[in-house]
């Protein structure tokens, strides 16, 4: 089969451009992990999921991105058995659409099938579909998040998951008041689920779901274009690591964009953006559909300078830019048009490096939250949770919430 290569996704990802069966998952063999005294995590032998993916010629060169996604969806569905298809292709209902989570709760909180339940060929087709629904950078980011889950398991198997201080009866010795795992959890880059709601079509509405621990991507298509890329949850633990000498930090650019936005404010503006309330997680995570706060809080972007507005827009782009390029530009244009009536707010510190440091962008449509949270497996370090929602267009505005 003749294949057309995707563009390289990032310098960090080591693309394998030959060998079409190069989809590889961690926890196979030969992987090693170590953590230095300063917390740096070094891994060898892991493969970033999706490495080496190539676009089938049959789906290349189509007129619109949505046509490419439909082509890849049809190709994926054609690889499935009837039983698998019955579990992956589901009716478009609010219940199925909202069946996502950022938690490691497997099929208890998701629909569809996990990659582990698919053959290697099917996994390749599934990730190929997710790839064309994403931008190059977005796909690189989400597959690094999947890779991070393998690291969580490797860390536990290697006994380097953080165990917090002495027991509480140790008098003045004390203990850290934060999570730190020592029990084995079902973290794996293969514990990510794919589902298709409705029939992939260039005219009728349908939806693609892909997600697992720290990840929920939902793309809605209708009338031959992507009409919604939200809700979109992305988080990661650990924040950074190296694998075979390459550096991975999938959400650092998102965090840096938010830090830059807060740093661009004057002291008075920061005071106006500071919230009294505290957030140790995102406010509008799974199960909170349509529950946007009644009142926008913080600083009105319309009162900022042109340079400051540009920094806010760049922060928004860090999330919107993860979806395929054409719909991302359309969504960005919409959000830019409403920028003056968008509000930014934060809680905790502006460096976004401590538990419960939190920042939010809340516009007429855009809603983005970023929060730092104590680690669960690496308890001495924070990790990130983020969500992008759209006040009007979540799930393509198909359902009432």
């Amino acid at each position: 089969m003749t294949m057309t290569r995707f563009l390289p996704v990032s310098a960090a990802a080591t693309l394998v451009l030959s060998g079409l069966s190069a989809i590889a998952f961690a926890q196979s063999s030969g992987t090693r992990i170590s953590m230095s005294d300063d917390g740096a995590i070094a891994v060898t032998g892991l493969t970033q999921p999706g490495t080496g993916l190539a676009l089938p010629k049959a789906c290349a060169g189509l007129d619109t991105p949505a046509q490419t996604v439909v082509c890849m969806a049809d190709r994926f569905l054609a690889t499935l058995s009837d039983d698998q298809r019955g579990k992956i292709q589901l009716p478009m209902t609010a219940e199925n659409a909202a069946a996502w989570s950022n938690l490691p709760c497997g099929s208890n909180c998701r629909v569809g099938l996990a990659l582990t339940d698919l053959t290697e060929t099917q996994q390749e087709a599934a990730l190929g579909l997710v790839r064309v629904a994403s931008s190059a950078g977005g796909f690189d980011e989400l597959t690094q998040v999947m890779m991070a889950d393998d690291i969580l398991t490797l860390a536990q198997e290697a006994g380097i998951a953080t165990v917090n201080g002495p027991p509480p009866n140790a008098g003045g010795q004390g203990m850290q008041g934060r999570p730190g795992g020592r029990l084995r959890l079902a973290y794996s880059s293969e514990a990510y689920f794919i589902a298709i709601l409705g029939d992939p079509s260039t005219s009728e509405a349908w939806q693609l779901q892909f997600g697992g621990h720290h990840l929920a991507t939902l793309h809605t298509y209708s009338g031959g274009q992507e009409t919604s890329a939200t809700p979109n949850f992305i988080g990661v633990e650990p924040k950074v690591w190296t694998n075979d000498g390459a550096f991975y930090s999938p959400l650092t650019d998102d965090r840096d964009a938010m830090v830059a936005m807060l740093a661009s404010l004057t002291a008075d503006q920061q005071a106006g953006a500071k919230l009294d309330t505290v957030f140790s997680d995102v406010l509008l995570g799974p199960g909170k559909d349509g529950r946007f706060p009644a009142k926008k809080l913080g600083l009105r972007v319309g009162d900022l300078s042109a340079d400051q507005k540009a920094v806010v827009l760049q922060a928004i782009r860090s999330w919107v830019g993860d979806t395929a390029d054409t719909p991302a530009e359309r969504i960005m244009a919409d959000y830019a048009a409403e920028l003056d009536e968008t509000y930014i707010a934060f809680s905790g510190g502006t460096s976004l490096d401590r538990h419960a440091d939190y920042v939010r962008i809340d516009g007429p449509r855009v809603w983005i939250e970023f929060v730092c949270q104590d680690g669960v497996i690496f308890g001495d370090y924070i990790h990130y949770h983020t969500i992008w929602r759209d006040h009007e267009r979540d799930y393509g505005a198909i359902y009432d919430f």
Partner: protein, 190 residues
């Protein structure tokens, strides 16, 4: 009020606390499976003339409203006991259907850890008694918003442990994302 002697009542209450403590261990594990972000658990156990509440609050979340410094030790809890007790009293209220407010008393504090499937973290256990003025324990409304009055992503899972160790999940107290307010929880005792 029943004609229970002071000695047997004390014994009864000690037994209830022990039963509550055992339930905390079991129920915290259940709660953690559903919600890996540390959350508060409240176990309500009826005893003669009052309801014993075993409240388990993740230290990492409590520290966001009551800065305790790090690391938090048993000594920290002891030294800050008055402040912690006053805070919990101010944010724990039970009342009967007729509007009568029950007496809230924090009878003990200790530090332990949750070690469920989603991580290990330090927990403050607060032993609280909720006492109706007439000594008649009826169904009541629990108005509890400790931590949640500021940490609007925190939530509290409430259980009721009736006779013969039968326990029932009463519900979740959590700030409404739209209003950031918590709603009181009705607790049936029958």
């Amino acid at each position: 009020m029943s004609a229970t002697t002071g000695r047997s009542m004390t014994s009864d209450r000690l037994g209830v606390w022990a039963r509550c403590a055992a339930l905390v261990l079991a129920l915290c594990s259940v709660a953690a499976q559903a919600h890996p972000v540390p959350e508060t658990t409240v176990i309500l156990c009826p005893v003669t003339g009052l309801v014993a509440a075993e409240v388990s609050i993740p230290i990492s979340e409590l520290a966001l409203v009551l800065p305790l410094g790090r690391p938090v030790s048993a000594r920290t809890i002891e030294e800050r006991s008055d402040e912690i007790r006053a805070y919990l009293r101010a944010h724990t209220r039970a009342s009967s259907a007729d509007g009568i407010v029950w007496r809230t008393k924090v009878t003990g504090l200790d530090l332990s850890e949750s070690d469920g499937p989603h991580g290990r973290y330090a927990v403050l256990n607060a032993h609280i008694t909720l006492s109706p003025p007439d000594g008649k324990v009826t169904s009541f409304t629990l108005d509890y918003d400790a931590v949640m009055e500021r940490v609007v992503t925190h939530r509290t899972e409430v259980f009721f442990a009736g006779s013969h160790d039968r326990r029932q999940r009463i519900g979740i107290i959590a700030p409404d994302p739209q209003t950031l307010q918590t709603a009181p929880l009705f607790v049936p005792t029958n």
